[in-house]
């Protein structure tokens, strides 16, 4: 087929509606364009105005996040956030969702989610050093859950393992609210030299616009639009909108781009993510206040007969758009030839302020670029606050089922889907490539990876407790940031900044928009008090199926710095005889706790309160004690409360403990989820020093026991075998994936 021109369909309001453009938006579009747009132009407007690309429902709220600190080099608005980690080095990171595609086609959806977030980071000049994932699935008994877990995990492994970036951390939860919409949030962290950071703002009229990477095919057309609508029963018919990933090409693209970045050839660069060539070219030229003209027949194509509309809307993976400085074309071409990747000059920057697309001499699009870039609809959607949850009214006898011993309760908790070992998942990820990995999830509260060639290390964690956010969006948002701060501090690192991945239901519903607004408010407050600004992020709305929304899930990806990675502390008990200390105060808050849900079958009560000043004080005390070499193990107290935190420290090490200090503690105190707490272990000779430090810092410290033996000796004389806990904790997920459990 050698057609050189296409007769495009006539554009009508009905066709616009099929593109997800609402009637009032179409009126606005006609006003801006001043005529009926062409079919290609309509396609371009539809993706640029999609929720996914325009953030039209969330933008007004996202402005509330604090985004500045002396160590922030670049906040939200670029491909990823950039922070100063000293020695002229920068950490560049972002988290992004690939929820809708992963539900429709779990393997490729998750794989391309990893590929996309990697590109956001290396397009800025960073070599990726770590990947993390926050995964949320429906209840295990739902018929789709097992297949989604298998596909998503396999897709993440397929992509991350091949590109050679270690997957070091993350979290996996199950809840019925995700039955119709799983969440796949992928985070990449990279390292660059501060004088080699690349941005996407195009400059230089006449400069060549270059396309590199994979060829363009028909995959992924309308992916951004698909991700901007609710699901219905027939959503699986949207499988063709999911892209197909090629991690081998991505690996070559990383090496080629980083090699090119070592020359002086690049003026600006951006990856082609959602809405592909359209959003990359519009955003680059738009940021530079310029026009751009592209000749689409020059775009490397995988299929014959592609129309301008298809080329512009394709979401084929592993592609980048680069503006070169004049005269550097051959130098750049040689590098991409070496790595056997496509390289094509497809256009140039202009001073017309227009977005012009030609193919074989015929013009298919000639739009004023500025409004396309910055005049997307902006909605102040109505919000409705979440009603306050009534306080719990349960006495000790109602709390403790008479047929369960403390050992039974603990075994049941560590085997519940949210707390069960995720070894089955993380063993499928290469966590060690790069040979700089110190700790991965499960060994410590935050993953720790050394900055190559230095002693420095980054600590990284992903956190959110959606059940808290559902019960109380403000507290839940605050808690997500506080837990991230705690996890990063618990390994001894200084928390520096976060990326956020806001996953919510349909923003057109006031209750959902109220959840969004509340979570933003709580998060922003926590970021302010903890000096922990937001430097990048992503919003995923319309996570609903047949009108049922997910739990509000603002995932927080935190990054912190250790001056010496060797000083990082893990969570497993270390030495027999070490003294176990509890940092923080215990009141016994059981509202929205895992204990209530897993033991009593109740999802009730208010979310725990967060005292941000105490979080800061406690985190600083823990970090400084670790830096002073006084701490042998450290773990924050979160899901499941103190008793579960102790069990996790025992299971990670195989060592038991005598918990005499807990004698007389009630169920609510043992399993309550009061915030701001850590369990530390200290050599007996260092206890005095640590206690003196705590007194000076105004931190409550309680001695609760001693490490030793092979069981947790609980108050009241119960001994809970660590081996039995390990067995309970390790067996659930493999058995479930083998189809042996509901």
């Amino acid at each position: 087929m050698s057609a050189t021109s296409w007769k495009e369909p006539e554009v009508t309001e009905a066709l616009a509606a099929e593109h997800g453009i609402k009637a009032d938006e179409y009126v606005r579009l006609l006003e801006i364009v001043g005529r009926t747009p062409t079919f290609t132009e309509l396609g371009i407007y539809s993706v640029m105005w999609s929720e996914h690309c325009s953030y039209k429902s969330s933008r007004v709220w996202l402005k509330k996040f604090p985004t500045k600190a002396p160590w922030v080099i670049c906040g939200p608005g670029e491909n990823a956030g950039v922070i100063d980690i000293g020695d002229n080095q920068a950490a560049i990171f972002k988290m992004e969702s690939h929820n809708h595609p992963s539900y429709i086609e779990p393997f490729q959806g998750a794989a391309t989610g990893v590929g996309g977030i990697l590109r956001d980071v290396f397009t800025m000049g960073a070599r990726p050093i770590a990947n993390l994932n926050a995964l949320r699935f429906g209840e295990p008994s739902h018929p789709k859950t097992r297949q989604l877990v298998a596909g998503v995990v396999s897709g993440i492994g397929h992509y991350g393992n091949c590109v050679g970036v270690p997957t070091v951390g993350g979290e996996t939860n199950f809840h019925k609210a995700y039955n119709g919409n799983c969440l796949v949030n992928a985070m990449t962290v990279g390292i660059a030299d501060q004088d080699k950071i690349f941005y996407s703002k195009a400059a230089g009229v006449g400069n060549p616009v270059v396309y590199v990477g994979s060829k363009t095919g028909r995959d992924g057309i309308h992916g951004a639009t698909m991700s901007s609508a609710e699901f219905t029963e027939d959503s699986e018919a949207k499988r063709p909108t999911v892209q197909v990933g090629d991690p081998f090409t991505e690996k070559l693209l990383i090496e080629a781009c980083l090699e090119l970045m070592n020359t002086d050839a690049i003026q600006s660069i951006q990856d082609m993510g959602a809405a592909g060539l359209t959003s990359s070219s519009v955003e680059m030229a738009g940021k530079g206040g310029l026009g751009i003209e592209l000749h689409l027949e020059k775009v490397p194509q995988r299929e014959v007969g592609m129309t301008p509309y298809e080329i512009m809307l394709s979401e084929s993976q592993e592609r980048m758009l680069i503006v070169l400085k004049p005269g550097h074309e051959e130098e750049a071409r040689a590098i991409f030839d070496k790595w056997e990747l496509d390289f094509a000059v497809i256009g140039h920057l202009t001073d017309t302020g227009h977005f012009v697309l030609k193919m074989h001499g015929q013009t298919y699009c000639d739009l004023e670029l500025a409004p396309l870039f910055d005049a997307a609809p902006l909605y102040h959607r109505p919000t409705e606050p979440t009603p306050e949850q009534p306080a719990l009214d349960l006495d000790e006898s109602a709390l403790w089922p008479s047929d369960l011993s403390l050992a039974d309760i603990l075994a049941k908790l560590v085997a519940c889907p949210d707390l069960a070992s995720k070894r089955w998942i993380w063993q499928q990820y290469d966590s060690q490539v790069g040979a700089d990995t110190r700790f991965i999830s499960g060994q410590s509260d935050a993953a720790v990876v050394r900055v190559h060639g230095t002693n420095k290390a980054l600590a990284m964690s992903s956190d959110v407790t959606p059940r808290y956010c559902f019960a109380d969006p403000v507290r839940g948002g605050m808690q997500a940031v506080a837990e991230s701060y705690r996890n990063v501090s618990a390994v001894g690192a200084l928390p520096l900044a976060i990326t956020d991945n806001m996953n919510f239901g349909n923003p057109e519903k006031p209750r959902i928009m109220g959840q969004f607004a509340g979570c933003v408010e709580g998060m922003a407050e926590a970021c302010r008090v903890l000096d922990y600004p937001v430097v990048s992020g992503n919003v995923s709305l319309y996570n609903e199926t047949n009108g049922e929304g997910i739990l509000p899930t603002p995932t927080v990806g935190g990054v912190g710095l250790l001056a010496d990675g060797h000083k990082a502390v893990g969570l497993g008990f270390k030495n027999d005889g070490d003294v176990i200390l509890l940092v923080g105060e215990t009141e016994g808050h059981l509202g929205q706790s895992l204990y209530l849900r897993e033991i009593l079958g109740l999802e009730a009560g208010p979310a725990p309160a967060v005292d941000l000043e105490a979080e800061k004080r406690h985190g600083t005390f823990v970090r400084e004690s670790i830096q002073a070499g006084l701490i042998t193990a450290s773990h924050d107290v979160s899901d499941g409360g103190l008793q579960v935190a102790l069990a996790e420290m025992a299971m990670a090490s195989g060592k038991g403990a005598d918990l005499a200090g807990l004698d007389g503690w009630h169920i609510a105190e043992l399993f309550g989820e009061d915030q701001g707490r850590y369990v530390l272990t200290v050599k007996p000779s260092d206890v005095d020093a640590v206690e003196a430090k705590a007194a000076e810092a105004g931190v409550t410290l309680t001695r609760i026991g001693t490490v030793g033996g092979d069981s947790l000796t609980a108050p009241g004389g119960h001994a809970i075998s660590v081996a039995a806990l390990v067995e309970a904790n390790e067996s659930w997920l493999p058995a479930y994936m083998d189809g042996k459990l509901g």
Binding site: S154, G157, N161, C162, V163, G164, D246, P247, F248, T249, K251, L252, W339, E340, W426, Q427, Q428, Y429, D430, S431, Q432, V433, G434, A435, D436, T437, R438, R450, G565, H566, G654
Partner: protein
């Protein structure tokens, strides 16, 4: 000791092995690209892990036919030490430097974890600093590490003491858990008849630095340096 590391498109442990070789020997390895048609004089050549050419065909099959492998085979025939790790083991086996094949893990899943290994033979330039029968912990990370060979080859490997490393249980593990991929006779690494070529699935470069929390791989590099300096 002079060393070279081969870089294929899709190699991803090339830097890691180069760091370990440099730290152990004090000399920067030569990095050879897959299309290179010459190679400096070196004492040891490392074929690293990764996904050469994406491993979209059989693992290592494309790389085995790249220009650089012609040189690697020539040098191996002249007695230069060659070690293939993970994808490198697959590549040198595909290239005919070692017998047998590495097929899909029995679990059908990629596996990344620290495994126990028994050092079966210290009679080589790669293993002389270990004690015979010593159990060490070294990480693996692969989807196709299940070593198979015909009866006769296995008999010869076992009979001539050419099994270098065998999977072994770490404390608390069952014998079944010890073998991560279903490899025949728990074989994790083998020598050629001349013992100058070694292929192994585990990654000693990932258990080298105190930061790794385990330095059991250090003696592997020290053996090479002691033998070849």
């Amino acid at each position: 000791m002079k060393s070279a590391v081969i870089v294929f498109p899709g190699s991803n442990c090339d830097r890691d092995i180069a760091v370990a070789l440099e730290q152990a020997s004090g000399r920067k390895p030569h990095m050879a690209f897959h299309k290179d048609t010459d190679l400096p004089d070196v004492d040891v050549i490392a074929v690293p892990g990764g996904f050469s050419y994406g491993d979209y065909l059989r693992c290592g099959a494309m790389a085995a036919h790249s220009p650089i492998m012609k040189l690697v085979k020539e040098r191996a025939a002249k007695g230069v030490r060659v070690v293939g790790i993970c994808n490198g083991f697959q590549i040198i086996t595909e290239a005919g430097l070692l017998p047998g094949a590495l097929i899909r893990n029995k679990s059908l899943k990629y596996v990344c974890r620290t495994v126990g290994l028994t050092v079966e033979s210290t009679d080589s330039d790669f293993t002389k600093k270990y004690a015979k029968g010593q159990v060490i912990g070294i990480p693996v990370g692969h989807g196709e590490g299940n070593y198979v060979a015909d009866e006769e080859t296995l008999k010869r490997l076992e009979g001539e003491g050419l099994v270098a490393f065998r999977y072994a249980a770490l404390p608390g593990q069952s014998a079944e858990q010890a073998n991560p991929n279903g490899a025949t006779n728990n074989i994790a690494g083998i020598f050629n008849a001349e013992r100058n070529v070694l292929g192994m699935m585990p990654h000693p470069e990932r258990a080298f630095d105190p930061l790794h929390g385990n330095t059991d791989g250090r003696a592997f590099f020290d053996s090479l340096v002691e033998s070849l300096s």
